[in-house]
């Protein structure tokens, strides 16, 4: 792999990304190690084991997310996919023409308590490996409605959300303006 090219900016059809993840190819592993880290030479056996488990868990998560996307939006499954991280967005990612992408955002724990920062308290939050993934095709699924948002959840207990920004829906009751 060309080390001068951001790994996560690679554009591949979704089916190829899936094949890379499923085969645990060095390229896919490198892409995820760029996000989740890789053990150093000095890493203990325990750290190596834990990092391997995290990486394997994330590989499974990406595979499941891409497969769900393909299942829910079969018309888009041959489109190219970019795996991107949230932290890259405001600088590097602007230079790429994104056709489809995966966005991720991790969860966190805060050892000093919850939301105390809103009351002037200090925080020492740290990210954990649990996260939300968005597999995104950055266009409306309906060519006649370019401002249509269609959002589904892999967890079927959450309803599909669809709205057109050219005709925004009314704000829900209790919405603070």
């Amino acid at each position: 792999m060309d080390k001068g090219t951001p790994v996560l900016a690679s554009r591949l059809p979704a089916t190829e990304w899936l094949a890379l993840f499923k085969s645990r190819s060095p390229r896919a592993v490198a892409a995820l190690e760029a996000i989740y880290g890789s053990p150093t030479r000095q890493a203990s056996e325990l750290e190596q084991k834990l990092r391997s488990e995290i990486l394997e868990g994330r590989l499974e998560k990406y595979i499941a997310s891409l497969e769900s996307f393909n299942k829910e939006f079969p018309a888009l499954q041959q489109e190219e996919v970019v795996i991107s991280t949230l932290g890259l967005r405001t600088t590097e990612m602007r230079t790429y023409i994104l056709i489809e992408c995966v966005v991720r955002c991790p969860a966190r724990v805060n050892m000093r308590g919850m939301h105390i920062d809103s009351h002037g308290g200090g925080c020492n939050a740290l990210a954990v490996s649990l996260e939300t993934l968005f597999v995104v095709h950055p266009s409306s699924i309906d060519n006649k409605k370019p401002q249509l948002f269609t959002i589904k959840n892999a967890n079927r207990s959450f309803a599909e959300l669809s709205f057109d920004m050219s005709d925004p829906p009314a704000l829900p009751a209790g919405y603070v303006t």
Binding site: L88, R104, A127, V128
Partner: protein, 93 residues
């Protein structure tokens, strides 16, 4: 900082958004204190920005403030720490 925030947000106002098509997948348990809601908001904000490269550059802090405001409008009063962590920790954790 406030001037940067205002500028970035003001520049983005009135710009037509492209729609998008997305699938959300999360393994963060809700209601567990792991900030699943902020993760959802930040992911969605990022997805909108990625789908709209024509939007003017918005100061990252202003973006985080917007995400916090969005959570606040939905009824969750939060500080900025979760959003900052979500935005910056992805490259290091």
């Amino acid at each position: 900082m406030k001037e940067q925030k205002a500028k970035g947000v003001e520049d983005a106002k009135g710009v037509s958004f492209n729609g998008l098509t997305a699938l959300i997948s999360s393994d963060i348990p809700t209601g567990s204190g792991l900030s699943s809601s902020h993760s959802l908001v930040m992911g969605f904000v990022s997805a909108i920005l990625q789908a709209n490269p024509c939007l003017p550059e918005i100061d990252p802090i202003a973006l985080l403030e917007l995400a916090r405001a969005a959570e606040g409008k939905a009824g969750a009063v939060t500080g900025l720490a979760d959003q900052v962590r979500g935005h910056s920790a992805t490259l290091t954790h």
